[in-house]
Amino acid sequence: MHNKTISQLQTELKNKKISSVELTQYYLKRIETLDKNYNSFITVCAEHALKQAKSADTDIAAGKINLLTGIPIAQKDIFCTAGIKTTCGSKILDNFIAPYESTVTQKFLAAGSVMLGKTNMDEFAMGSSNETSFYGPVKNPWNLACTPGGSSGGSAAAVAAGLAPAATGTDTGGSIRQPAALCNLTGLKPTYGRVSRYGMIAFASSLDQAGPLAKTAEDAAILMNVISGYDAKDSTCVNRDVPDYTADLNKKIAGLTIGLPKEYFIAGLDPAVEKAVQTTITELKKLGCNFKEISLPHTELAASAYYVIAPAECSSNLARFDGVRYGYRCENPVNLIDLYERSRAEGFGSEVKRRILVGTYVLSAGYFDAYYRKAQRVRRLIRDDFVNALKEVDVILTPSTPTPAFKIGEKLQDPVAMYLSDVFTIAVNLAGLPGLSMPCGFDKGLPIGVQLIGNYFDEARILNVAHQYQQVTNWHNKSPENI
């Protein structure tokens, strides 16, 4: 049952082979018995989920079937959910119950889905291993000694371990695609502005984007149909028609030109990753795709620019967590400064503090031009690189990550090494383009992912390529042992 995709479960629900309540109970039971191994959920809302499932069953009986009626979903704990705790993986929000619903979770409610719970994540989405969570690290179902990646590590582990058919994630520098790669899932970061950010707790506003973590490209497309679209509550959300992302999945991809940026295939790339990516290229050639070497000349500047812009925005975005109106407040503050300093010192973890410090520094008088302004210029150059390349090719293909999953604790004391695990994904956020990671092989039992980058609002095309690839390969169907 837990190996079934959303699309398969939809058929079973529709044919009344199973009810949504039964399905929900099944997943809740799995979470209850198995999640102690993974720590993928921060909050499980069994009662709430069963109520939604019951209501979905009534709808199904009445023939009222919406996009996701009766399908259980796990939500990253970064989306505000009215009446249900929203922590963002932080002690500072450990007691926070949002008084309103985020647009993304509201769309899931409207689509008739069932929310199983809220998944673990790096604190405020700052991390690539899910080790910075106040709620403890998440373990990779493929190897419990390894991280599932981050920041959407809880969502990825939950889906990989069969604790939820699919989940949401958010991606600021790779936080959907990197855990998808490390957990053998299909994860999509949409074009910036495709999905509303309203109610999604901000890390870096100009980079954050919500997207699906699913077993297949088809499931990712189904979820994209749910979450995409204009929202007047988010000024950066683009008012543009939403296509049916499942419509073109079966289109043949013969004749498509795929670009291989030479800057992404460099010495230092894990040989197993390189081999898996080469095998993918061979497979796609068989499907009729043409490959072409391209250049994205400013690639090597991406990480530096990202680690200026993202901390700058986060230093300001996280100023609201001051112990005054909600969230953690230190005990017995003696005055206002003490209230601020201790609430924040005690409420935030060290990685969040590191980024707030870096961000505050790069925005300071005297450093602004040298860091922030320069990083913005680099960002434009990186964007232009992609725009130019995408005039020549339809899709760009790169490895998703430099290596398969790394060990828990391995990079925690070395922030730069940790930051480089996102080196292939962050440029896509800086450019605002859609990017997808899909399974393409294994090394010593650990999954490897390959990234497809599309043009602006061309999610349908990368989903199409991924789906076609998944019709002729079996990587995405593999599950960890004992699951």
């Binding site: 109610g199 707790i201 901000a202 506003s205 509550k233």
Partner: protein, 477 residues
Amino acid sequence: MQWETVIGLEVHAQLSTKSKIFSPAATEYGAEPNTQACNIDLAMPGVLPVLNKAVVEMAVKFGLAANAKIAEYSEFSRKNYFYPDLPKGYQISQFELPIVGPGFLDVELKDGSVKRIGITRAHLEEDAGKSLHGAMPHSSGIDLNRAGTPLLEIVSEPDMRSAEEAIAYLKTLHNLVRYLGICDGNMQEGSFRCDVNVSLRPVGQKEFGTRTETKNLNSFRFIERAIFGEVERQKEILENGGKITQETRLYDSDLDESRSMRSKEEANDYRYFPDPDLLPLEISTNVIEKIKQEMPELPWEKRKRFQEQYGLSAYDATILANDLHIGAYFEKLLDDNISPKLAANWINGDLAAFLNKHNLTINASPITPDALRALLIRIADQTISSSAAKTVFEAMWNQEGTADEIIEIKGLKQITDSSAIEKIVDEVIAANPAQVADYRAGKDKLIAFFVGQVMKASKGKANPDQVNQLLKEKLKN
């Protein structure tokens, strides 16, 4: 040494929108604390700002009136600092690219001369909330009703050389924003606030001296007092060989003195950067052109026209032209049968007094321009005396009927028949022999007494000119 005062002003004008600049919450003044603060104003995690388009049009209107350049591309920035009444930990403002660029206002001074005051820029921003001290024991409260209220910050050049010039500029500005309908100008409620930058320099010196900024000034009188005080304070320091510290000072109106709030060294580094939650603000030339077409005649243009077209005094023209609605009322009222001067006198006199007494604006006046015109025609054609007119006006105010109906019912038609007037005059002279004797002995002022008696006896209906003339004749011998 002779010192020259240099003054620059920063005015925060609260824009008269129904909802806040980045949220749908209401902006109304005086509500219970925190009842007009929505999730966005409270800076709940995950919320986002959406610009209220009404503020853009208001800022453009101001820019056009101030002869300023309107930026086709401007942006919102975050001004970062921690304060309990600043829920996000930053204020959304405009920094590098404000919506209104350089402009100027021509300001009329008391001696009738005109001084041009440069406007550096005007930008949109959100207001903060309020800290409430003393409302609760051992802790302070925060009221976020005001958080997110739209402000237009208007920054002047350091072009003013005296408190008089500063006040004249402020009054021009204050009148302008109300005239344009973009700010209610209520200084008590903080809708129009001013920070004053003052420095001194030896007369003839080109470079500016070190300046201070005085905040918390919510009346013209306090602004004037604060400038006087600051000029004196700086003069004393400079003349004793001291140096002015660049600092922000807070004016205390109870003590009529200011004290240092923070020095430049203690000033925050606001770490401004473009707000990634908001798109750059782009205003097309078409939109600017459209607003330009809809701009009303500006007060100074109207004042000039009223003087030229209607022959009004500068005083009358100013009062009528300074308020868009009063000006419109005046022009609606005018008619070939009444003189503009008569119309101006009634609007600036009795009508203004009644409106003021009942705390009404002219648009809410129970006497319409048409109704008032009917009354003024009866004054002009001498049907009623001006004292009877006051009685008619009051009755009209109380909705007792039209001017003609009231004149009829109350029998206020002026007596112009000289034999009838003569009869009353004779009676009054006969009834007051002592006063007649005094008058004839040289107490000329008593003429007013006799006129009064006649008017009283005629119940105000006698034509005062005729009464005057007859009395003078009869009292001569």
